[in-house]
């Protein structure tokens, strides 16, 4: 495919501009975390730490169960993503492939749970979790996060199942494949970019979840990194250098996740496979 030079340059410019815009705050967070408080507050901001120190990382670990927060975050996020993949893929397949009464209505009603401002739901959720005797547990967070992201997961995945041509499935079934085999060998792989996208989104959004974890998990039993990183805000001020350290720690596992899983968004559908 011939592409003009200007288009190529434009593409590069767009990417460069965007990367600078999106990465600079992270860079800033990182260097702030390496500065001493004296350097953070000097007259002209410095763009690299003059006396880099890991003191802030050490001091926020002191007396704070960051390891527990990290483990909580990981368990909650994997649990939620897993639940969404299992329940969501199946449900999306059902919505997409089968015609049954109320299909369209139910699809849209899925969105209702997304639409409520979380602030107004924390009291009833707290009560539900209390009845289930799950206050201050990771399971509570998995349940609530699944509630938040399952509808979204289904919604996106429906869109991708919709793009899988029915003829492919029908020809497989004529060839003798069962429903399950059709699903696993043909439909799911083709919808994989969508499933992957939905999973990544669910993972990262659950990772960042703040309000529900704040209300439902007051101790290190289930508190996640997102809430834990705001732990050391004093009542009268914010220690910026410690904030930077906490921010980096809260983000690193998610950064690593992105490194490994971003390729699954594009894997799968390439030219030619559609023809079977």
């Amino acid at each position: 495919m011939q592409v003009s030079r200007t288009t190529k340059i434009l593409r590069v410019l767009v990417l460069v501009f965007y990367l600078v815009f999106s990465l600079f705050p992270i860079y800033w967070m990182f260097i702030t975390s390496l500065k001493t408080d004296k350097e953070v507050y000097i007259e002209n901001p410095t763009y690299y730490p003059h006396n880099p120190t890991f003191e802030n990382y050490r001091s926020i670990y002191e007396g704070r169960p960051y390891a527990a927060y990290t483990l909580n975050s990981i368990l909650i996020t994997f649990g939620t993503t897993g639940a969404c993949i299992v329940f969501g893929t199946i449900a999306a397949y059902g919505f997409s492939r089968f015609r049954f009464f109320g299909n369209k209505t139910l699809r849209y009603s899925l969105l209702i749970s997304r639409v409520f401002p979380p602030i107004s739901l924390i009291v009833p959720f707290f009560m539900i979790i209390g009845w289930l005797r799950l206050y201050d547990t990771k399971m509570a967070n998995i349940i609530v996060n699944t509630y938040m992201w399952l509808p979204f997961f289904i919604w996106i995945t429906i869109g991708f199942f919709d793009t899988v041509p029915k003829e492919l499935e029908e020809s497989a079934q004529i060839d003798g494949a069962s429903r399950f085999q059709t699903f696993f060998r043909i439909s799911m792989p083709l919808a994989l970019p969508g499933i992957a996208a939905a999973s990544i989104i669910t993972f990262l959004e659950t990772w960042k979840e703040f309000l529900y974890n704040l209300v439902l998990s007051p101790t290190s039993n289930a508190k996640n990194l997102s809430v834990g990183a705001s732990d050391f805000i004093a009542d009268m001020f914010i220690s910026w250098e410690q904030m930077g350290a906490g921010a980096i720690i809260a983000s690193i596992p998610a950064f690593i996740f992105v490194i490994f899983f971003q390729k699954y968004i594009v894997q799968g559908l390439t030219a030619g496979s559609v023809k079977g």
Partner: protein
């Protein structure tokens, strides 16, 4: 043809069964909270214990509360500016990433990183960067000669809302981009090749091939991120608290104040129900606007 209708019923049932677990889970978790909030919205907490006032809060909000309408306007500005620019940038980035062959993985990683940062923390970092006397942004702009005086980004009566919406866009772009990228992957390359042979240029290809096939992804990403922006509180709350002079006060910060600062629990419950309706209207309008087609 008995066979066919049998199969149809069997199929429908099977489909319904597939959908059932998810629906059940969500139904159980949705019913109680919604009913509870509706119940709260009919109570007034001015007295202890609270007393029943029916639909009074709704009437008050819609007819007697000038702040409701003003902040509603602010919320709409926030959503439109944030998602408008976020979508624009996300589309450009997705298109560029889709076609670049070298370093795809690395570029995608970097493009997604900003999204991994928890919103409260991201807001605090932006607050520090936008600080008028010590912030990085002013320092850079001064050094580049773009501005000559330090600008109080968070204290401008008209422009602060735009600044806040762009901070929100920073958090929303990766989300939209991921969905658009996945959608772009589903468009077969041959379509573009055929169009090139026919002599179409880039813009025409976009209009006739890319956009129509991308409609579902566009709708999903824009709709979800708009709803999310409408109820997003962290950025405004951390950066300006609704200031200066309530210029950036949103419906959602108004909701927060009523619920937690003034403890008008019933009033805020009614406000949240109204916000739900507004969100549904937004969804409806977006569906009408973007009109995704059934594919194939």
């Amino acid at each position: 043809m008995a066979n066919q209708s049998d199969k149809f019923i069997k199929d429908s049932l099977f489909g319904f069964l597939l959908v059932l677990p998810a629906l059940l889970l969500l139904f159980l978790l949705v019913v109680f909270p919604v009913i509870y909030v509706l119940y709260l919205s009919t109570l007034s907490f001015d007295t202890t214990p609270a007393h029943f006032v029916g639909l009074k809060h709704y009437a008050e909000l819609l007819t007697n509360d000038s702040f409701f309408w003003i902040f509603f306007g602010h919320s709409m500005q926030y959503v439109v500016f944030a998602i408008g620019s976020a979508f624009f940038v996300a589309l450009l980035v997705a298109l560029s990433l889709n076609t670049i062959n070298k370093f795809q993985g690395t570029l995608r990683t970097f493009a997604l990183w900003c999204w991994a940062v928890p919103p409260v923390i991201a807001s605090l970092m932006w607050k520090w960067m936008l600080n008028d006397t010590n912030g990085a942004l002013n320092d850079i702009l001064l050094k580049l000669g773009v501005i000559h005086q330090q600008v109080a980004w968070l204290a401008l009566p008209h422009w602060t809302m735009i600044i806040l919406s762009q901070v929100h866009a920073w958090t929303a772009i990766p989300f939209i981009m991921v969905i658009l990228l996945a959608g772009l992957q589903a468009i077969p390359v041959e379509l573009y090749e055929v169009a090139s042979i026919d002599g179409a240029n880039g813009l025409q290809k976009f209009r006739t091939i890319t956009y129509p096939l991308l409609r579902t992804s566009v709708l999903t990403s824009v709709m979800l991120s708009s709803i999310f922006a409408f109820r997003h509180i962290d950025i405004v709350f951390t950066l300006t608290k609704g200031g200066p002079g309530e210029a950036t006060e949103l419906l959602v910060t108004y909701l927060y104040d009523n619920a937690f600062n003034y403890m008008k629990i019933g009033y805020s419950a009614a406000l949240s129900i109204i916000m739900v309706f507004i969100s549904m209207v937004i969804v409806f309008l977006l569906v009408k606007l973007i009109r995704p087609q059934e594919q194939y």
